[in-house]
């Protein structure tokens, strides 16, 4: 049962990429030899397809595109719904709905902006290098110009 798996699911097994006997000098330990062969085969493979990086970029781009599409819409809808509910509970119609509608637009834009610029998550989180750059002091003056 284990043997009859469809072969499409898999990349080429390491043992097939580097058939034993390819290397001339043979270290005594078969495991060391195998390790060397795997390394060689991996290096070969990386050399043959230099587009590996592009693929992961494409994957990330796809993921990002799928993410931000819905972000704005849901933010506005959920915030407005929340405003409507607040109005019902506290009898403040229509102010809660109006206020939260605009807050929802702002929150949605914020989320999209952060997703696109790569600074994910709320303002509280800053990537370590950006925080260091901001605290240097001199940088702000440069940016103001």
């Amino acid at each position: 049962m284990v043997r009859r798996a469809p072969a499409i699911l898999l990349p080429v097994p390491v043992s097939m990429v580097a058939p034993p006997g390819m290397s001339e000098s043979r270290p005594p330990d078969p495991l060391v030899r195998l390790g060397e062969e795997i390394d060689k085969a991996r290096a070969e493979r990386v050399r043959r397809q230099p587009v590996v990086g592009d693929r992961s970029v494409l994957q990330q781009g796809l993921g990002l595109g799928v993410r931000i599409g819905i972000e704005l819409v849901v933010a506005v809808v959920v915030a407005t719904g929340l405003g409507w509910a607040i109005d019902r509970w506290f009898g403040t119609r229509p102010w809660g709905m109006i206020l939260l509608f605009f807050l929802g637009i702002a929150a949605g834009m914020l989320n999209v902006y952060r997703a696109v610029t790569g600074v994910s998550g709320p303002v509280g989180y800053r990537p370590p290098d950006a925080g260091a750059a901001a605290s240097e002091g001199g940088r702000w003056d440069d940016e103001d110009c």
Partner: protein, 243 residues
């Protein structure tokens, strides 16, 4: 002659084993069955795949190892080293959604993730879990997540509600994204399938489109599981790597 097209019929929940306790309907449904199937298949893949511990992995072992490495990489790059302890959670989440999506692509089966309650429950677990992790790790300091640094106090009155709102919206975007994608994709498949069945010989064109759509759905199934998992990682990263 006329074939009735009911593209939404596929989302009907059927009770396989009716079961009521004190007026609460907890029947074993087709959705529950597909969830069970996903869990059983994932467990089987991991357990059988890693049974032999072969140095040169066989087919199943490399499948299990590849899924492990994929998620481990994702957690490592997005959460950092502090995220290792959350790897089991993210891995479970990713595999469950992936298998649920893929099982839903099998004809006559059922797409669990096309039910908003399922995706919302998953997203709520992520949301509540991340909030608890943040509070446990940082205590009261966790609330600084909503307070931007270096902003005048007047603006804080406006910015804090926006931050709070954008935080509270997370479970909704997370769940609606997955749910809407699966629902729309499967509805579209059913509509084009209905066209193909109802217009006779010309039906070969919608059939061709359907073949392409199935390929697209395979992509969407994997991509949505990936997006769900990576967003979970990013949210965890917010809670753990607080400034």
């Amino acid at each position: 002659m006329a074939i009735e097209i009911r593209p939404l019929e596929q989302f009907t929940i059927e009770r396989l084993i009716p079961f009521h306790i004190g007026g609460v309907d907890i029947s074993y449904t087709n959705a529950a069955f597909l969830m069970t199937a996903a869990v059983v298949l994932i467990t089987a893949l991991i357990l059988l795949g890693t049974r032999k511990h072969a140095l040169i992995p066989g087919r199943w072992q490399s499948l299990a190892e590849m899924s492990y490495e994929f998620v481990a990489d994702m957690v490592e790059t997005n959460v950092g080293h502090g995220g290792r302890e959350f790897f089991p959670f993210v891995f479970t989440l990713f595999m469950f959604i992936l298998f649920a999506n893929f099982l839903g692509l099998i004809p006559y089966s059922y797409t669990v993730t096309s039910q908003i309650i399922v995706t919302f429950a998953l997203a709520a677990v992520v949301f509540i879990g991340v909030t608890i992790v943040g509070i446990v790790k940082h205590g009261f300091h966790f609330l600084r997540l909503f307070v931007p640094q270096g902003v005048p106090a007047v603006l804080l009155l406006l910015l804090v509600p926006i931050e709070l709102l954008s935080y509270c919206i997370r479970p909704f975007t997370l769940s609606i994204r997955l749910f809407a994608n699966m629902l729309a994709g499967h509805t579209m498949l059913a509509i084009f399938g209905g066209f193909a069945a109802s217009i006779g010989l010309l039906g070969i064109f919608p059939l061709g489109i359907n073949i392409l759509l199935v390929a697209l759905e395979v992509l969407v199934a994997a991509l949505q599981a990936y997006v769900f998992a990576i967003l979970t990682c990013l949210y965890l990263s917010d809670a753990i790597n607080l400034h």
